[in-house]
Amino acid sequence: MSELVVEVNNLSRSFGKTKALDCVDFQASRGKVYGLVGANGAGKTTLIKHMLGLMRAKSGTVRIFGEDPVQNPQGVLKHIGYLSEDRDIPDWMSIDELMRYTGAYHSSWDQGYADELLETFTLDPNKKISSLSRGMRAQVALISAISHRPDLLILDEPSSGLDAVVRKDILNAVVRTISEEGRTVIFSSHLLDEVERLSDHVTMIHNGRVTLDSSLELINNSYHYSSIRFENTQTTAPELTDAVIVSGDGRFWSVIHHGSVEPFHDSIENLRGEIVESRNATLEEVFVSRASRRNGSHPIATEVGK
């Protein structure tokens, strides 16, 4: 199961003066679900476009199933299902026409599966794509991305701009795809709840750099949130061991900390503080803490709230 489906090494990409990707390494192994998170403009879509061969690597390498997607687009793309951020499917076709058109490109196209999904989403195959609502459009785009039963499914913001019902349908179809043995899914999202539910592994991109790349389990277990009460008012953010983000004022402070808890607890005791509440950090808290690290080389950054 350790077979690598995606291998991105040292990939950099600039648009003018903007560094969209800066020495990015990313790997995906077979059968797992990868959540790609980051603020708008962080570089998620640029990374995805490189994986699809839509952009050529200027420096660094991209290998999908061991092949270069720019050199061998047919060989790579037939194994990939892709849902773009803008769901760019031709407006002038009917749903049925789009299915036949997309199906013609894929020898593994499963019309039965496509029909089943159309029925699940209660979509009328005779409808013109231009007449569809945003949610229906996303559903159609998803069906055309997964009906050839790809080994690798790449979804760029699959649920952005969708209402709760359609989102649930879409995620359900994704879960179904995942549960088919051996399929790999990479999806970008800024809905962290969704990422936490669906992924085995989370990669955070911030300003073109990978700031966190770890299994969800490890993230859950290595980041903690503690709320602390000090005996005396702290005029500046207290210096606590392994703290990533410190916020609060007066005697009450909230801290996101990383790693083992003993040194952290000792540092609180030294400042005559007491832990009021402690728990694992949520993905959202981890995300905020990684995104606000102004410089990756500083092990401890303090960010004072308000």
Partner: protein
């Protein structure tokens, strides 16, 4: 199975699933020998990756709470009693820890707490009794 996932308190999802199944077993909502939802069904119902459900089931199987019949589903283990007792203990201890921590914040000590628990039980019993009498009067 009625499982709810909360992504707001930092508890890993597989652990939430495992804990809720343990709870359902300890509280007899799930009975020995009963079949539980297949991985895929539960994954779809909760909209989580099947790998997460697999992880939860593996943990429960290792603890002897459930067992898998090859190709024939997953069931609640028959011999629950010693384990269910330990589980009940664990669940109530977790609640007590929370209560103690909160009591400490509000400046109650363990003795105060015990008194309050007894007093509260008496009040609840009295309330139940009044309701029962009221219902009986209504019946007549």
């Amino acid at each position: 199975m009625n499982i709810t996932i909360n992504t707001k308190d930092g508890v890993p999802i597989y652990r939430q699933i495992a804990n809720q199944i343990r709870y359902m077993v300890a509280s007899k909502l799930l009975k020995p020998g009963e079949e539980i939802s297949p991985v895929r069904t539960l994954a779809l119902a909760l909209n989580v990756t099947p790998n997460t459900v697999v992880k939860a089931y593996d943990e429960l199987a290792a603890a002897g709470v459930i067992f898998k019949r090859r190709g024939a589903g997953t069931y609640i283990s028959d011999e629950q009693s010693p384990l269910a007792d330990r589980e009940r203990q664990r669940i109530i201890e977790a609640r007590i820890d929370t209560l103690l921590a909160e009591a400490h914040q509000l400046d109650f000590n363990a003795e105060d707490l015990l008194d309050l628990v007894r007093e509260r039980q008496l009040q609840l019993d009295a309330k139940k009794q009044t309701e029962k009498t009221a219902a009986e009067n209504l019946d007549e």
